[in-house]
Amino acid sequence: MGAGPVTQAIHLPALATVRDYFTVRKVMDTDLKVAQAVADRAGAQATTSVSAVLEDPAVEVVAICSPHAFHAEQTIAACRAGKRAVLCEKPLTMSIPQAEEVAAVSAATGVPVIVGTMHSYDSAWEWAAKQWGHLEGSAHTIRSSIILPPNERFEDFSTEVTSRVEPLPVNTADANVRASIAHLGVMAVGMHNVPHLRSFLPSEAAVNVHHARGLLPPFGYDVFASAGDCQLDLLCYMYDTWHPKWTFEAIGDSRALRIEFTPSYVKAGSATATIFERDQSTTCVRTASNGYVKEWLHLYELALKKREPTALSAIVNDLRFAMNLAHSVADVILQEENHS
């Protein structure tokens, strides 16, 4: 559902690598031309109707890639339609009550729901989490540094995008707009590292933003925060560079983890992760499957009940953390700009 660049450049290419597990049956978009063009490419049927997807018994798994505002409604509808599993692109919903409702419906219907934070499924992260052992409270510094060229460049590396929507002009002279852009940056990009970050934080630790600055153009943020005793150093900058560099570091008293993720969209294999100790370091090998492919394989196992679903409460808590962070970042940007 939703046949924009995420479907075209991420999910259909990922699904093409797991044809033994999945067949694309329907592509739904409110724009029939887009739906048709994308469906033709995948050998699927096009539709503009949500119910046509949900009522089709041949559709067993649904991926929600529509605009954020529709995520909650469509995920709940897919669960109630009795699908085997649902993948919802991030963010799961636009509010916590909506997310709690999704969790409740998922539990009541027994339909597992996962969120498309693909780096959570990356084999390098899975390796690192297993090697590290107990994560919670074991790092005193977390650094997430996401330097990316504009998305369009990587969409074009991945596929030919049909009917790309031009971004609306925004008045970046307005502090409220800049704060909103940083908020979007946290929810749309920073969200990818939230599951990793939260794994290391004490479960009840509230986030406290000490400094935030919006980075333009087109967006990004420069944030220093803390949660409990843990220092959070968060940088995201999407700008006119060719050189992507996406790193996540967790640093503890005697151990440190560094993960170098591949950029979004492209099928560049897994991340690489290194765990440093006092006198040695261990690095996992890069595997051919990236987080998107692993995400689909995870969904396959959930759909066939070969794997126990992860409690949605963890996903809701990730969302709560990201929303609190994004709101605080926007507030601090406005405060600092008003102050200066």
Binding site: T141, Q231, D233, H243, I251
Partner: protein, 257 residues
């Protein structure tokens, strides 16, 4: 300093840690060691010694190298000295500064991972020295978050914001890195163990790609010696004092509600 007559150097005997060994191993062969600090042409002082400023200067004609001065130890009126800071003395710094001079950069970043035994304030002092040597002298610092294992600070270098992140660990990945973001890329400096001659990696990323500038397999200690021997105007005292003052004031503000 062109005479071949024996020139003498007095090495602070408390420099017995790795930095001292590295300083000694890079001692120019034209210098002879002496135990008489007052007659020496060069003195090398251990800036980590609590009372090092009392040993300084032995005479007006002495050239002085100060190794890793401790934060809070610099008096406001200092005689000239060459700073042998673990990171700022790295010869890659001048390469970085040269590139930065002609770049239209927007904001900077300094990320540090230092040994767990260090004091984060002292590491911040070294980071400020590194930034100064790389052409981003700090004009203000605000400490945002601090603990025994790290700190975060927001600084300005002129009109440019500079983010500083320091983290301490016993894990073996100690490094300092500096990035200055430009409209189409960045100038990046990655500095490894300061007592080894592993070269800093200074690179420029722009539309045409990433260029790794020639590497220099020289320790900061050796580079400090070379400056002391060849650069008569070398004087890092004012900059170091300024950095120290900014950091001290920043911590005073942070600790005063």
């Amino acid at each position: 300093m062109s005479s071949n007559l024996a020139r003498t150097v007095w090495l602070d005997p408390t420099l017995n840690h790795l930095a001292g060994q590295s300083t000694l191993s890079s001692l120019p062969q034209s210098l002879l060691q002496t135990t008489d600090r007052f007659s020496a042409a060069f003195v090398v002082l251990n800036g980590q010694r609590r009372n090092w400023t009392e040993l300084y200067p032995p005479s007006a004609t002495t050239s002085t190298i100060v190794v890793d001065p401790q934060l809070g130890s610099l008096p406001s009126r200092m005689q000239p000295f060459v700073l042998d800071s673990p990171w700022a003395a790295n010869p890659g710094c001048s390469t970085f500064a040269g590139q930065l001079q002609t770049a239209d950069w927007q904001f900077g970043e300094c990320c540090t991972i230092a040994p767990l035994s260090e004091d984060p304030k002292q590491v911040l002092f070294r980071a400020a020295s590194l930034l100064r040597a790389c052409g981003l002298p700090l004009s203000s610092i605000e400490v945002l978050f601090g603990s025994a294992t790290g700190l975060a600070a927001q600084a300005q270098s002129g009109d440019h914001p500079v983010r500083i992140s320091i983290s301490l660990t016993a894990a073996a990945l100690h490094r300092m890195s500096v990035r200055a973001f430009t409209a189409t890329g960045a100038i990046t400096g990655e500095f490894d163990d300061p007592d080894l001659s592993q070269p800093a990696r200074i690179s420029i990323t722009d539309r045409s790609g990433t260029l790794l500038l020639p590497t220099i397999w020289e320790t900061g200690h050796r580079a400090a010696w070379k400056r002391a021997l060849t650069d008569a105007s070398a004087n890092d005292a004012p900059g170091s004092f300024k950095d120290q003052q900014l950091i001290t004031e920043a911590f005073t503000r942070k600790e005063t509600p």
